[in-house]
């Protein structure tokens, strides 16, 4: 291949306890749109972070060649200097600065430190014209929509004389017409010789514009499909993304499923800030005693929002709907009430929402149920030590002592501390949000074992997970969510990754229910 613009060879990147990329090779031809697809956690973002220098040379093994020259980027400015620009899913624009100020941020048109506003403004107008955005360069970012902000990001990349543009989920938060416009722009840039790497979950976008598709799975390259030669269907891509051996990753469980103990009816939730935006629409969910129910969907499908709104209205406003436990309606309007009604929610972000990192393991475990270890508001410390010691042994938390600070534990052990906290609160219904995110395979197995044990003890469990194999391997029944709605429900015995993925990916009209 003569006109290869980028070649990444044998890239391996490990994080403590996890091999995020394993010998990945990836190449992009001059003037093509190359899609990178894979499940959450397959390694797409890690690969792009390696490429752009966010993970500097030396923190990974393997070689990167750009336009035939070997590159050893130490940071993002070095990769941008050769014409490699990455646009992240979370846009990096400053809301209260104007379009022109944002465009040249870090790259200011200036002489001796004094900004030349005339040049900045006229250059901005020219670049905005190129991306088809007709806004004044003086408009503040906060006053334009997400779709237009994406275009500003692309204009910003053009200002840096981009040769290879990397877009991470650019259409995830765009509506139909903005997406169309963006994809059209990518094709137009291609005409001008600018190559792109497109990371996307939306396979319809991918099949619309991509010239070739590379599929990543579990940190390895599975295959690269050439869209010109082969006739690539979405089913074909999905098969590549999910096809993997499922045996031995999940411990078996003796199923003992009883009557319905938890039920949510007609649950509606609105966004806490944008109060006219619905984040949950007419959700109905039932969970039985001893049952593990999966909640599947993409990031942003509204699963966490749903779970947190159920857990004492911890998220959202204008919440309506009814919640029943054992057939009786219960009041869960505050977190305190939710906990005393036997509901627990273990968050997806254990560091930000789950743990007091600067405190001891012991204090973290008892926080949600201090009443159980105190009399007349005075904590019985010996009793606290005894019970937390029991949880350490039962859940196999590896720590030097229960007085070790939570911040010093590994991810898997931190997760076990979060689980211990909620088990100590004595819930009947446990909502586990991404309980295995960012922890290694061994610790995952242990978490699955704990989930199984809880189910056998008769607890009702709602498991939110972006990893399909996990949902299929652990759950008894699966709900699929998209755009805040339940779009599918099936027993695990009838589910397959392809089937769930279809519900997740396909636009609503296509799904026949």
């Amino acid at each position: 291949m003569s006109d290869v613009i980028l070649e990444m060879r044998n890239i391996t990147k490990t994080f403590p306890g996890v091999k995020a990329l394993n010998n990945v090779s990836f190449s992009v031809t001059q003037g093509e749109i190359h899609a990178l697809v894979g499940e959450n956690g397959a390694g797409k973002s890690t690969l792009m972070n390696v490429l752009s220098g966010i993970y500097p040379h030396g923190s990974y093994t393997g070689d990167i060649y750009f336009e035939g020259k070997e590159c050893r980027f130490r940071d993002i400015t070095e990769s941008e200097a050769v014409g490699l620009v990455i646009i992240h899913q979370e846009l990096a624009l400053i809301p209260f600065l104007s379009i022109a100020e944002n465009l040249f941020l870090g790259n200011e048109r200036a002489k001796n430190g004094v900004i030349d506003w005339n040049e900045s403004i006229s250059k901005t107008a020219e670049l905005l014209n190129r991306v088809g955005l007709y806004e004044s360069p003086n408009t503040l970012i906060t006053n334009i929509g997400v779709g237009k902000q994406q275009l500003v990001e692309i204009a910003k990349a053009l200002a840096k004389k981009v040769k290879l543009l990397i877009l991470d989920e650019p259409t995830a938060s765009l509506n139909e017409s903005d997406s169309e416009k963006l994809l059209g722009l990518l094709l137009q840039l291609k005409e001008h010789g600018i190559s792109s790497i497109l990371i996307s979950h939306k396979l319809s976008d991918v099949s619309k514009v991509a010239d070739s598709i590379t599929i990543l799975r579990d940190g390895g390259t599975i295959e690269t499909l050439d869209c010109k030669k082969d006739n690539i269907t979405e089913d074909r891509i999905i098969r590549g993304m999910v096809g993997r051996d499922l045996t031995h990753r999940f411990p078996p469980r003796e199923k003992n499923i009883g009557e319905v103990i938890f039920e949510i009816r007609d649950w509606n939730v609105y966004h806490p800030i944008h109060e006219d935006r619905k984040v949950s629409t007419n959700v109905n969910i039932t969970v039985r005693k001893g049952e593990v129910v999966g909640l599947s969907g993409l990031m942003g499908a509204g699963r966490t929002e749903l779970a947190m709104s159920i857990f004492g209205h911890a998220y959202g406003t204008r919440i309506s709907g009814k919640v029943y436990k054992h057939g009786k309606e219960i009041d869960i309007s505050t977190i305190d009430k939710a906990i005393s009604n036997g509901i627990a929610y273990a968050t997806e972000d254990r560091k930000a929402y789950g743990l007091i990192l600067i405190q001891e393991v012991k204090n973290n475990i008892t926080l949600a149920n201090l009443e159980a270890i105190s009399r007349r508001q005075v904590i019985n410390e010996p009793q606290e030590m005894r019970v937390t010691g029991e949880y350490r042994d039962k859940l196999n938390i590896k720590c030097s002592s229960i007085q070790q600070l939570a911040v010093n534990l590994s991810g898997g052990n931190q997760q076990k501390v979060v689980l211990s906290k909620w088990l100590f609160a004595g819930p009947e219904i446990l909502i586990l949000d991404e309980p295995t995110r960012g922890i290694d395979v061994g610790a995952k197995y242990e978490i699955y074992t704990i989930i199984n044990r809880l189910a056998s003890e008769g607890k009702a469990i709602i498991l939110i997970s972006s990893e399909l194999p996990e949902i299929l391997g652990v759950c008894d029944r699966i709900y699929v969510m998209r755009d805040g709605k339940i779009v599918g429900e099936m027993p695990a015995s009838e589910a397959s990754q392809e089937k769930v993925m279809k519900y997740i990916m396909t636009q609503r009209e296509v799904v026949e229910q």
């Binding site: 305190d336 007091i356 201090l370």
Partner: protein, 387 residues
Amino acid sequence: MKTLSTLFKNNIREYGMLIALIVVMVFFQVQTKGVLFKPVNITNLVLQNSYVITMALGMLLIIVSGWIDLSVGSVVAVIGALAGVLMVRYNVNWVLVVVLSLVLGAAIGAFHGYFVAYLKIPAFIVTLAGMLIFRGLTIYLLQGESVGPFPRGFQNISSGFIPDIFNGKGLHITTVLIGVILSVLLIWLDLRTRKNQQKYGFEVTPFYFFVVKNIGITAAVMSLCYLMASYKGLPDVLVLIFVLIAAYAFMTSQTVIGRRIYAMGGNVKAAMLSGVNTTRLLFYTFINMGVLAAVAGLIVAARLNSATPNAGDGMELDVIAACFIGGASPMGGVGKVIGAVVGAFLIGVLNNGMSIMGVGIDWQKVVKGFVLLLAVLFDVYNKNKNA
């Protein structure tokens, strides 16, 4: 068994502070040719710092919650002004005045707390506003003049001493007895903690260290009480301070509410998602601060025997500095009552020692500023070394 060096390393903050205090004390004892440890001066030192310590207890909780209160100096003034006006101009009974003052303190705390906790306005701004508002109200109440003197009973709040029921000659026997009881109590408590820790298989400090530590504490308590006893005995204020310190040390380390305050300061979202009503808790923390500021305001007024428009001016800075010198983190979640008390004492000894030496107010401020900076630098340095 932990070795002494790892023990020291793990608790370098607490021991470092204590050592600094001792070094500073010895330095001034030498420089002032023995005046520092004279019984009358020690009594003075305690009286001068009682209000800083009182407010440091409340401020510590606010700082541990992750906030700050800049208004306490002005609250001290407005409480003193109200008490003075009621007693002098309206001849209200002083006991009733004390009660009213504490209620007003709670109301002022609630005022700040409402804005911070419920309306989510940063405490720095709310209490900066409070600082101006209550200073202004003080000047209005006093019409720019000092109001006094106060009834004997009210003055005794800060100038009274506990009675000696044994009528010792030249030595206040009750004071000595209290010292003995206190020492025994402290040793017993420490022993109990140690036994509990051993029972659950935790590492405990070597026994000789335990012995040395308790001998040190006993010696400090007994020598303080002996010094006091050879003057007029324990001041009433000191007894109040001891009770407050003990109550707050217990509250922060042993009770549900204390645990929740530290959880809130360590990670407010995680605390909230664990069922802690963080809004209400923060509100209460500010009310508590208001009440303690009122206590301090009464002590200041009683000590000066008049209410003055500029009472408590700049006191908030000493109080906040005491907490930070004592190891509290401005990020919240970290800080101990004992640390804040030692910090307050350190500032007190610096003020007192430099005054005796004849150092001007100008250089006193410079020195205190550097001490604060050094203490926090020491913290940051240790944290980085351990990370």
